[in-house]
């Protein structure tokens, strides 16, 4: 690989990293897992002056549930940490379902959850998951910390709401009301492929009654598709096949797929509808037991 010339720094603190980004005035880039940035350097789609490697900053490689039930994922938590976490498997079904479908096992050892969300690839799995879960990011810049809601974070393909001198240090998924349920389904051509279409569904439930519902889609639009409004039709209702059909149709309509060599837009909508249905039907109380 022969990228164009860049300077490389590996600061030991978030503050030092922020200072480097600030000094870079937009021409500095964070390197986390490198699984999106390095391919872009290789192809010379990205040619930053300065690389700020955050892998040597201690204390960012965590994921934990706080006492209130909220889930916190640090900037250096790798995809595979989430994939292999017993706590995630038990308490956060949407993330647990998505983790083994992100990229391939090799990429998952290095790629980070937060890096993926920041990368805002319209086909990326974690941005969709975060939107469905109603999460937010904690970011740090020269003036300190702020939070950005996921619904405001993805601005377009590969574009996010961070300022050039801000680092996302943590992703937060709020505590569920009731029991967290949900799933993730993805149509891919082979392992390690980005989604032709994928669906993240996150529900908070009390028995068979939906207290909160979030749905987001990847691969079927110019950016991650936020279908939380369509999903909210479930709130306050028992999960039944008929309401599921209605919501699945509404979510499919919200998708903005393009016809390409992976299939027609109609086909991709059909996949979205099928996946929404499959995930929701599997959450109907008697089927869960």
């Amino acid at each position: 690989m022969y990228p164009s010339r860049f300077k490389y720094e590996s600061p030991k603190t978030i503050e030092a990293a922020v200072a480097l980004l600030d000094a870079g005035k937009g021409d500095a880039k964070i390197l986390a897992g490198g699984q999106s940035l390095v391919p872009m350097l290789k192809l010379r789609f990205a040619f930053p002056d300065q690389i700020v490697d955050i892998n040597n900053i201690p204390g960012l490689d965590y994921h934990r549930f706080d006492a209130d039930g909220s889930l916190h994922i640090g900037a250096l938590c790798r995809h595979e940490d989430l994939e292999h976490s017993a706590e995630i498997a038990e308490r956060q079904p949407t993330i647990a379902a998505a983790a083994p479908l992100v990229a391939d096992p090799i990429v998952r050892t290095r790629g980070t959850f937060v890096g993926s969300v920041c990368h805002a690839d319209p086909q990326g799995d974690w941005a969709a998951t975060m939107i469905a879960l109603g999460g937010h990011l904690v970011v740090q810049g020269p003036k300190g910390k702020r939070t950005i809601d996921m619904k405001d974070f993805v601005l377009g393909p590969y574009a996010n709401a961070l300022n050039y001198n801000e680092i996302a240090i943590e992703a937060v998924i709020p505590a569920p009301k009731g029991v967290a349920r949900g799933g993730y389904l993805k149509l891919e051509r082979r392992v390690g492929d980005f989604a032709t279409a994928s669906v993240a569904v996150a529900l908070d439930m009390d028995g068979n009654r939906v207290l909160r519902a979030g749905i987001a889609l990847a691969g079927v639009g110019g950016k991650t598709i936020d279908a939380n409004e369509e999903a909210s039709a479930l709130v306050g209702h028992d999960l039944t096949e008929s309401i599921i059909d209605t919501v699945a149709a509404a979510v499919a309509a919200k998708a903005e797929p393009r016809t390409d060599h992976r299939g027609s837009s109609d086909y991709k909508r059909q996949i979205v509808k099928t996946f929404v249905k499959r995930i929701l039907v599997a959450q109907i109380a008697e089927k869960v037991a």
Binding site: R5, R44, D104, R190, V191, R262, Y267, Q270
Partner: protein, 793 residues
């Protein structure tokens, strides 16, 4: 007492691959591992567009960069008569573009610099002014009356047609169709794909002004052909050219042609008087080097009610890209496409083939297959499947009725090949038993009632592997024989060199096994060396499954010559006449007293220390082998699939592969070849193709878009063997490297089509991506990947 052949690693031993010792330790020695003092690095600037006239090229900013030693353009090549080079199919191909660019990724300029970073930076500084021309991305466009001419460089070229070619008996075939009870017709496209070896192409040219010698390290499956090409194109004297193919990270046919990068690196070394390294990147490899397939078929079969095939018509249209650069025997324009239907007893057949230029990468065309045999067998088995369905006949039964029978060999095929051996029906039976064929129809019926879609597909074929014989097969006039040279040292150890070149096939392991079989020298005592034209005997290289049939036979013959000499030495040592000597593995003995004997190792020592009067010292010999015929392995593959009706996703439930490749030298390696080939077959059936958009942009320019399957999604394969020795090969072996890639795809496709046949679906073009399957399932119509192309006549 005779040696235990398996113990010494002879024929039939599943000996571990000796080359893996260095490969799994990361100690392979590939072209890119070679570093020479003062070496410079070359980068190629490629065309971003598919078709354009070059108005001007400004290289001044590149020249100005520190560390840049040379910038080469087409014009500079032309000044040395090197802007164009001959292809392996009697056409010309541009080295660096002069007048026009004719496909995306075509080589336009080359920068030679102190390191690869500088070379790449400097490429970005070259300004090329292109006048965009309309791109032609398929044969329909190429054939249109008002189509722009791609090859306006060629005097006498009419339109965009490369050739019309036909074979078979047209009148007799027409008559068979008149007499038929039923005519079955299908149309399909075998999409373009790419061999995609993990190691890309590359070379280091090291021209020494003082000695006049060019040493050329190159990723070539056929180093001797490269030496010949360099001698002819670069006009260097052949004795001053040494071509070295070191370890090669996969070839699959991609590394047979001579590429522009090779030629330019040689000129660059001559001009700079420094070694020049060129290592292609993955995108360069995928968008500019030899692809495979890209053929359209209109197939027709004349049938009798009872299932007998009366005649076959095949019309093919092939897309060759910008230059006709197919690597194939010179007699045949569409490779060995006419090997189709070789396993069936068919009275008459006719084929008409037309080739077109398009604004796509030029060919190599054989991706793990003997010159289009893959297309031939795929078309054959898809036509057979459709015909059985049209007749309402069972798929296995239809094949059985039409197979050439065991005692009908030698058999002249309808297109003129001579097949010599096989047990087709036995292979079919083994496969049917293994997959549970007789219960399947019921299983499928019941599954359909539950809304599940099951399908079964069969693919059976015999294919011609191991070109030549020299009467019929040559490349640019050089006959397709091969060679081996065996030198036994005084301690009874040996070195063997051949004109082939291993790239994963395991020659270092299996050639030693053949010598062990012939001489009784343990395989581990034999070193195998290939790829250096200064030391190896001349041979045509490794592709088309030809190494075992041709070079492997030469190994046997060289060893037998050595044994003949050793026999004379044994007679001398045992003080009896040669006629009184008997041979058993590893030892000569006196017929009347088997206790009195000498080992091959004792003979070897005597060859250097105690030879008979008047005998030349030493124990070595060379054999050039010109096979009497091709070898004809047989494959019977069975695939069972289940389709998810809501998504079109299909899963392989079971895959059974029965292979008869004659005598197996190393069963483990044979199984590895079959597993690998089936994986590639699965790739082509399921996900892999090299496609282009309307503007001629190549969609599969990297591994996110050009898909190689991983262990994750590749189904399991169950392998079975039947052994029918090759009647003319010295050890009865047949080619096998390509059987699975060739026979595999049709098994998958036939299975998916079978699952949808009750909806009226007869064809889905590969790759059978879920969206295509879903479309067929919901519309009940055939799905074509490309617009159907009208035939050329």
């Amino acid at each position: 007492m005779s040696l235990d052949e398996i113990k010494i690693g002879g024929l039939g031993a599943s000996r571990r691959r000796v080359e893996d010792n260095r490969f799994i330790r990361g100690k392979g020695n590939y072209v890119d591992d070679i570093v020479l003092p003062g070496m410079l690095h070359m980068e190629i600037l490629r065309s971003p567009v598919a078709h354009a006239r070059i108005k001007s090229i400004d290289t001044s900013a590149a020249w100005d960069m520190p560390g840049v030693r040379l910038v080469l353009t087409g014009e500079m090549m032309a000044a040395r008569n090197l802007a164009w080079m001959p292809t392996l199919s009697y056409d010309t191909a541009a080295v660096l573009a002069t007048d026009k660019v004719r496909f995306q990724g075509q080589e336009v300029c080359a920068v030679i610099a102190d390191d690869p970073y500088i070379a790449k930076d400097a490429c970005a500084k070259i300004v090329v002014d292109y006048e965009i021309l309309p791109p032609i991305v398929n044969p329909v466009q190429a054939a249109a009356e008002d189509a722009i001419q791609i090859r306006d460089d060629k005097a006498g070229q009419v339109g965009n047609k490369v050739f019309d070619w036909e074979i078979g008996d047209k009148a007799r075939t027409d008559k068979a169709f008149e007499d038929a009870d039923l005519v079955s017709k299908v149309e399909m496209h075998y999409p373009r794909t790419h061999p995609s070896p993990i190691e890309c192409c590359g070379s280091i040219a090291d021209f020494d002004r003082a000695t006049g010698k060019l040493t050329f390290y190159v990723t070539s499956q056929a180093p001797h052909i490269v030496r010949a090409a360099v001698a002819l194109v670069a006009e260097l004297p052949e004795q001053q050219i040494r071509v070295v193919s070191p370890d090669i990270g996969g070839g699959f046919g991609n590394k047979v042609p001579v590429y522009p990068g090779y030629v330019v690196s040689i000129l660059a070394s001559i001009l700079t008087e420094k070694p020049v390294k060129w290592i292609e990147d993955k995108t360069g490899n995928l968008i500019s080097t030899g692809f495979g397939r890209d053929v359209y078929l209109k197939g027709e079969m004349a049938l009798r009610k009872d299932g007998k095939i009366l005649g076959v018509r095949m019309n093919t249209i092939s897309d060759h890209g910008a230059f006709f650069a197919d690597a194939q025997p010179s007699k045949f324009k569409i490779g060995l496409m006419h090997s189709a239907f070789a396993c069936y007893d068919i009275p008459t057949a006719h084929m008409f083939a037309t080739g077109y230029y398009t604004n796509k990468a030029p060919g190599g065309v054989a991706y793990r297959c003997s010159f289009r045999v893959t297309e031939a067998m795929f078309f054959q088995e898809r036509m057979v499947h459709a015909a059985a369905d049209d007749l309402g006949m069972d798929q296995a039964e239809f094949r059985r009725v039409n197979f050439v029978k065991d005692d009908d060999f030698p058999h002249r095929t309808a297109f003129g090949f001579l097949t010599d051996s096989g047990q087709y029906e036995k292979c079919l039976n083994v496969g049917m038993e293994a997959i549970g064929y007789k219960d399947f129809a019921k299983e499928q019926e019941e599954a359909r009632k539950r809304g599940k879609l099951l399908g079964i597909g069969i693919s059976t074929m015999t294919e011609p592997l191991g070109a030549g014989n020299s009467r019929e097969y040559d490349i640019l006039g050089i006959k397709m024989f091969d060679s081996a040279e065996l030198r036994v040292h005084m301690t009874g150890k040996a070195i063997l060199r051949t004109g082939a070149k291993t790239q994963g096939q395991g020659h270092e392991t299996t050639w030693a096994q053949i010598v062990a079989h012939e001489l009784g020298i343990p395989a581990e005592d034999i070193v195998v060396e290939e790829g250096d034209t200064d030391t190896a005997p001349f041979g045509m290289g490794t592709y088309a499954s030809r190494s075992t049939p041709v070079a492997g036979a030469a190994v046997s013959m060289a060893a037998r010559k050595v044994r003949a000499k050793a026999r004379k030495i044994a007679a001398h040592l045992l003080e009896v006449s040669e006629e009184d000597i008997e041979w058993e593995l590893g030892r000569f003995y006196v017929r009347s007293n088997s206790d009195r004997g000498v080992t091959i190792q004792e003979c070897a020592m005597a060859a250097y220390s105690n030879m008979p009067d008047g005998m030349e010292p030493g124990l070595e010999n060379t054999a050039y082998y010109d096979p009497p015929n091709l070898t004809w392995p047989f494959a019977a593959y069975f695939c069972k699939v289940e389709i998810d009706p809501e998504t079109g996703v299909w899963d392989v439930l079971q895959f059974v592969a029965v292979d008869d490749c004659g005598v197996r030298i190393n069963p483990m390696i044979v199984e590895g070849q079959i597993m690998g080939g089936l994986t590639e077959a699965y790739a082509m059936a399921n996900m892999q193709y090299q496609t282009y958009d309307e503007e001629g942009n190549c969609i599969g320019a990297n591994y996110m878009d050009f898909l190689l399957p991983t262990a994750w999604e590749t189904p399991g394969f169950e392998l079975y063997e039947v052994v029918t020795p090759c009647p003319h090969h010295p050890i009865g072996a047949k080619g096998v490297g390509e059987c699975a890639t060739v026979a595999g795809p049709a098994a998958f496709v036939n299975a998916v089509v079978n699952a949808l046949s009750h909806k009226g679906v007869r064809n889905i073009d590969m790759p059978l991506m879920p969206n295509r399957v879903y479309e067929a399932l919901t519309t009940g119509k055939d799905v074509y990947g490309m617009p159907p192309v009208r035939s050329g006549n």
